[in-house]
């Protein structure tokens, strides 16, 4: 279950466990030795997690045991009541939506949902939405505006599903519409990339006033594997692609694509889901409080500006 680069940490943890067991068994005092090892473990964890390569972050972002959308809905929020269906095409299990409370504030929640096991992964289509999922999100945007409920969108998808029915039902059209519709919200909107922010399928619910990202989450125009397949003509070069794409939280804050990085507990969210969710909650509460004072016009205007300015270019040098 653990990630490749976590092996030394696991080994050291095992060693500490063994030493403790041995001390108990032999009724000898190894407290100072254990403490020393514990210090070493903390340093190792810190070193490891501070210096993860981009490709390793991709692995953490996708790690089994990392909290998914539903985990947040059930634990970070209160009174979550799911609302199903887009009233048009169906009810996409890859997107979970509904009403909930965040520390007392009523909100609309939209969460992309990967599976937590194989069976759920199949049910949730690995978090890859069909057009129906985006239509469901848009229905939630309508409810949010009508009842003035802030929107919180949790992003975690490899991307919108590239399939026959999805194309027939206008996958591109609904993503474009969702981007536009979300940008027109008259209520506060916060998006959080909690795991994998995969391309347009992620952006469709990412046009928020504030875009947050977890420390080990990624947000990218294309998956490293697909990028490698196209540019290197070898999906095996995903590690290189991940480096090149600058898809980590730190990269994205530097590029001003995201507004805030939410720390994860040492060792990553998959090693401490409850801790990670608590940190996300705290960040959301702060952001919501900040946005609550803004008028609909201010929210619209600041969202417009936030996305209008994105990009890097320079004046053409005079010939």
């Amino acid at each position: 279950m653990s990630l490749p680069f976590e092996k030394p940490i696991e080994d050291l943890e095992a060693k500490i466990r063994d030493m403790r067991a041995y001390a108990a068994e032999q009724e000898i005092d190894l407290a100072s030795e254990v403490e020393a090892l514990q210090d070493r473990l903390d340093r190792l964890k810190r070193d490891t997690y501070e210096n993860l390569t981009r490709w390793q972050r991709v692995q953490v972002a996708r790690a089994a045991g990392r909290p998914t959308g539903l985990d947040y809905l059930q634990r970070t929020f209160d009174d979550f009541t799911e609302l199903h269906g887009d009233r048009t095409l169906g009810d996409d299990p890859a997107v979970v939506t509904g009403l909930a409370r965040l520390a007392g504030t009523s909100v609309i929640v939209i969460a992309q949902q990967k599976g937590r096991d194989t069976k759920e992964n199949i049910h949730r289509n690995f978090g890859m939405s069909h057009p129906s999922g985006y239509r469901k999100a848009m229905r939630m945007f309508d409810l949010a505006d009508k009842f003035r409920l802030p929107v919180i969108a949790l992003i975690d998808t490899p991307g919108a599903y590239p399939g026959l029915a999805a194309e027939e039902q206008g996958q591109a059209w609904v993503i474009a519409e969702s981007i536009r519709r979300m940008s027109q919200l008259t209520v506060p909107a916060i998006s959080v990339v909690i795991g994998e922010g995969g391309s347009g399928g992620a952006l469709a619910i990412g046009v928020a006033n504030r875009v947050l990202i977890l420390e080990n989450a990624i947000y990218s125009v294309i998956s490293p594997e697909s990028c490698a397949a196209i540019l290197w003509r070898d999906a095996g070069e995903a590690e290189k692609a991940a480096e090149a794409l600058r898809l980590t939280a730190r990269d994205l804050i530097a590029l001003e694509v995201v507004d805030r990085v939410v720390d994860e507990p040492l060792g990553g969210a998959h090693n401490d889901p409850a801790g990670a969710m608590a940190l996300v909650k705290q960040a959301l509460v702060e952001e919501l409080a900040f946005l609550a004072s803004m008028s609909p016009e201010q929210l619209l205007e600041s969202r417009y500006k936030r996305f209008r300015v994105l990009g890097r270019f320079q004046a053409v040098a005079a010939a």
Partner: protein
Amino acid sequence: MALERWFRRNRPSKKEDDNSPAGLWLKCDSCGAQIYRKDLVANSYVCPECSHHHRVPADARVAMLADEGTFEVWSGLIEAQDALEFVDTQAYPERLTKARQKVGRPDAILTGGALLDGQPVALVVMDFSFLGGSMGSVVGEEIASATERAAAEGRTLIAVTSSGGARMQEGALSLMQMAKTTVALEALSRAHLPYISVLTDPTTGGVTASFATLGDVIFAEPGALISFAGPRVIQQTIRQDLPAGFQRSEFLLQKGMVDDVVDRRELRARIADVINLLRSGLAQPEEEEALRVAAL
């Protein structure tokens, strides 16, 4: 088939029979006919034999749509940065330099103001020959600023799209151009100005999934590939052959996604009609209000 064309077709010399931009003759991808380049150009780059719609250089596209002598270029004053220091088998700046040399403009976009059948428009034309028409920061900025300028100057926005999608070499910044171009359309909506988008072959990925498909009216050129995911990706996903005509304009018309499939030779007239109709509605309430106030 005109006799003159038939006559020409029977005498391609080996030297002329190439597909280089300078070649006098070329072979139609669709029907295989040898076509005299001038005939193709004179026929709006539509094969005189089989009506296959060949790709159109951006300048030629502008010439087809703008009233003669009315086009004023807006784009071209900005160029890409290598914010990611992106290197794959080639560094991004090298790719850019080559593309600029080949195409003769800073990036994959040409925008400007013009009259179209006497009506003020902003033209946004993507250039597929520049890195596959991919949308990076420059393309996004040119589109967004042309859109805002159209709103400010009371022009109808006309976008002619052709793009492989987002420009990977600009990473998440290129992804964000989808949002940037989309929010800019709001400026146009607030000014109650129409936006007509024309999808040409090929329009895929992030461009299709943003401003391209948000036209008040969407026209598609015959036979154009228009999709979110590329056909190869889908084939890999579903592991079976795609149905004939899948993701082509005519298929999308049937699926309700475009307003019409329009032959390029009629495109200008159709656009003019639509602008005419959409811009002759009743006075907007705020205009009426302004009139009322002015009358006091």
